[in-house]
């Protein structure tokens, strides 16, 4: 309600004197001005011209996210209730390649270490990380006869140390990833959740990592040929970083929450129609309520 009273003051003040842009004064309730529809909405209401031209994203990344959108929502934009996962936010970041992205050594099947810097500034403090993957795009779809097995080692290096904190040495996490390649697959996902979880939780905004693949050097012939096609199309494009998040703020949709608490608890015979024990549709971010207390079984008379 704080936001609504501010809104009424703002619209009132916007009528009285020109003052600053009304939308720039209102901070969303969770205090995070970044990940929100409100600022652009107020910009339109205040009639100011649209903001600075935006950088355009990578076309392959945009293609992937449009496919994800069609999977998650209907044509009218309504989230599909058939989805079981908790995430209500998915963010895709393309890296700032620190040096020219070299092509790998196809004989030994070793990819070059890709040195990548991701800026996660758009991740809001209210967004909790659920899953994170590196997304490799294949220029053309490669049909792999069977799932390839490669070890992917990820080395996280401390970003440019600020004056205060002493720079930590680079530390590495080796995660062996099964490269699942389905027929005509266009993308390869490498799970990096365990690596990024602590960093995103600590609100680290800049992730500097180098990725190194090593695959078995004596694969059967048919796998070697398919892998040839894979390397040929895989090595030219640095991977994107995909974050599956749960936005815990009030204005985000919590489909799993309303689904879970909207189910009627089965009424036992003789039980009177009581008031719902739980607050209806209380968003998890507005005042952390304990999960719905289980009603005590009524004693039969």
């Amino acid at each position: 309600c704080r936001a609504s009273s501010e809104e009424s003051q703002l619209t009132a003040s916007a009528k009285l004197e020109p003052g600053p842009e009304p939308w720039s004064l209102l901070q969303p309730v969770d205090g995070d001005p970044r990940s929100d529809l409100l600022p652009p909405l107020f910009k339109v209401l205040s009639g100011s011209r649209s903001g600075p031209p935006r950088l355009q994203p990578d076309s392959r990344a945009l293609h992937y996210m449009k496919k994800l959108y069609k999977t998650y929502a209907t044509k009218e934009g309504i989230p599909k209730s058939s989805r079981s996962h908790l995430c209500n936010t998915v963010r895709l970041f393309t890296p700032y390649p620190l040096k020219k992205y070299a092509s790998g050594d196809q004989e030994t099947g070793i990819f070059p270490p890709a040195d990548l810097l991701f800026n996660l500034d758009r991740v809001a403090a209210v967004e909790r990380l659920l899953k994170s993957v590196l997304l490799y795009t294949l220029n053309n779809s490669v049909s792999f006869p069977s799932a390839g097995k490669c070890v992917c080692s990820l080395v996280l290096t401390e970003p440019r140390a600020s004056g205060k904190t002493p720079p930590r040495g680079p530390y590495s996490v080796t995660s062996s990833s099964q490269l699942e390649l389905r027929k005509n697959s266009r993308w390869i996902e490498v799970d990096v959740t365990s690596l990024l979880q602590p960093l995103v939780a600590a609100s680290q905004r800049s992730i500097h990592m180098s990725v190194n693949f090593t695959c078995p050097t004596d694969p059967p012939k048919h796998v070697a040929e398919a892998r040839e096609g894979l390397f040929g199309s895989l090595l030219r494009v640095p991977p994107s970083l995909l974050l599956y998040l749960n936005d815990t703020s009030a204005q985000a949709h919590h489909g799993w929450y309303s689904f879970r608490y909207s189910k009627r608890s089965p009424r036992r015979p003789g039980q009177r129609q009581g008031v719902a024990a739980c607050p209806a549709r209380q968003g998890p971010a507005q005042g952390r309520r304990a999960p719905c207390p289980r009603p005590r079984p009524r004693l039969r008379r």
Binding site: R54, I78, T89, L92, D247, Q251, A252, H253
Partner: protein, 136 residues
């Protein structure tokens, strides 16, 4: 429709003519000017947002418009306060406004946006499409 009983010679009680069919029709088929949900389809291009909102192409937030009938409980699930407010407006003080026709329930909306740093975000926002109206 009941006659008020008074000193007048007692006439047999004859209820005022009550057109059941009229009332029933009005109950089931509200007039066009009554409070109900209406469509408003907009494209983000009209708001000059199409350079950063990639999907959905069209957005129908819907809205509520119309007069609130006097007996609001049966159709709009309004609290008794709404009828009290109506009576105050009609009998006591017209400065007190009639109940308003407002949304009572919403659907969320999924939005695909291009962020200022060229990253791409899929987000689901609560309360973006009105699905039911009420009088309050």
């Amino acid at each position: 429709g009941r006659e008020t009983l008074g000193p007048k010679p007692r006439k047999p009680l004859v209820p005022a003519p009550f057109h059941h069919s009229e009332h029933f029709k009005r109950f089931l088929f509200p007039h066009d000017d009554e409070c109900e949900l209406r469509d408003f389809r907009l494209s983000f291009r009209q708001l000059r947002w199409d350079h950063w909102i990639v999907a959905p192409q069209r957005y129908n937030p819907r809205y509520c418009k119309g007069d609130c009938p006097r007996a609001v409980r049966h159709r709009y699930g309004s609290p008794i306060h709404t009828m009290v407010q109506n009576i105050i407006h009609e009998k006591l003080d017209a400065a007190v406004p009639r109940p308003s026709c407002v949304p009572a329930a919403y659907n969320p909306l999924s939005v695909l946006t291009i962020e200022p740093d060229a990253s791409i975000a899929y987000k689901e926002y609560e309360n973006m499409i009105a699905t039911r109206c009420t009088c309050r």
